[in-house]
């Protein structure tokens, strides 16, 4: 994967503050192993984030620095968007997809050079063996990237909008 954010430092500084983040500067440093083995099945089921928009975080993520970019309803993240795990200014991992009542529902977690995708249960991908589930997960992920791109475009950040449009294309083309 190519992450064109290396030259977008100023954009990034603003992004952390307002959660309309610029492109991931270091998504390539995503740590695949973190999202694999549940230490406790429900530890990530609890909601994180600001009181006006709470959300569950994917299994294995450190909940202390996760940002949701998307809609909220009744104080819970809802619909298409992204969850980004941050470490300082770096984006470690990104979930693209759909949340329902603050819980991860369908989508893909981008890792270094790969994806974990499908339906989610308690923050973990459920392996149901259905190829259609995977196809739908990448469709949701792509739609989420498009939705985030539109937010940036509307917010006057065309560079980040372009990044997420490109990401939407990549996600859409993952399954042949």
């Amino acid at each position: 994967m190519t992450h064109p954010g290396k030259t977008w430092g100023p954009l990034w500084a603003a992004a952390v503050v307002c959660s309309l983040a610029g492109p991931a500067q270091a998504q390539a440093q995503a740590q695949a192993q973190k999202a694999t083995v549940p230490q406790a099945a429900d530890q990530n089921h609890a909601l994180s984030g600001p009181a006006r928009c709470r959300f569950a975080v994917p299994g294995g993520w450190d909940a202390s620095q996760v940002r949701w970019t998307g809609d909220c309803r009744a104080g819970l993240a809802q619909g298409l968007g992204t969850l980004r795990a941050l470490q300082g200014n770096k984006v470690l991992q990104v979930f693209y997809g759909r949340l329902k009542d603050g819980q991860l529902e369908l989508g893909a977690i981008e890792l270094d050079g790969g994806y974990r995708a499908g339906r989610f249960d308690n923050g973990w991908v459920v392996q149901d063996g259905e190829r259609n589930t995977l196809i739908q997960a990448f469709e949701a992920a792509s739609d989420a990237a498009k939705a985030v791109a539109q937010r940036y475009q509307a917010g006057g950040n065309p560079a980040s909008a372009r990044f997420y449009r490109q990401k939407a294309t990549q996600l859409a083309q993952q399954m042949d």
């Binding site: 695949a32 050079g113 392996q127 859409a172 083309q173």
Partner: protein, 273 residues
Amino acid sequence: MAASDLSAPVGRGAANHRPDVLVVQKLLLARGYAIQGGADGACGDSTVGAIVDFQSDFLRKPDGVVDPGGTTWRALSAGYPDLTGKPPPPSDNLLKLLPRPASTAINQGLTAVSNAYVLGKLGQPLLAGGYNTLCQEPTNPKLRNNLARESVGPFRVWGLAPAVQSLKAVMADIAKQQPAVYAGLGTQGMMCCRLVRGSTTAISNHSWGTAVDLTLNGVLDARGDDKVFYGLTLIAPIFQRHGWFWGAGFRTEDGMHFEGSKALFDTWVAALK
């Protein structure tokens, strides 16, 4: 329940404690065995059928029961240490990214089979058309008559019968030669009649069940980034020896994808009923 075993038998006429049933159902699903309604903790006909189906791959007389510590349990739980159906912990090493190999270094002596060629040999999978972006089951009777659904070792697939047999032989060699990779292998399917993404006419080459997409430790290699997981480079030569073409050699890199080369495909066509 012990972390590594069932508390009581699960299956036909068994105790079927809900936590045990859930574990068995999740492991069956993770291996590609269908259970109507998914993992719900209730052991009905669909779950018993899936157990029998699973046992038929290695038992002469499947009985539809998973006993604690028994042969079926050991086979079912192997490779899934946390018993949730989630794949084994990843190895940094196997998921290490490498630049995709030069086209001259892979698929040596093999030719990718074109969509048109397969279409000419096997015909339309959906006789009445109607392809869309989701997988549909084929309606072509000859194709349907030549499909097989069975375990190839680390997972279960549904595909063209001779392709499934060939894949089984590939997996047996991987188990012997690259056991660490074998332990982490999974699949995202073989048979899937659908359009190529973004096209209104081109059919996916999964539409005839002659290609397979793999996962490594539950992770799909990102398509089109010109990088591949190290673990895939370890098994690609084994696929090649069996005549399978690796998608890392496609114009758009597709590292998770393997399909029968033209020569291998021709042998499959000759073997069809």
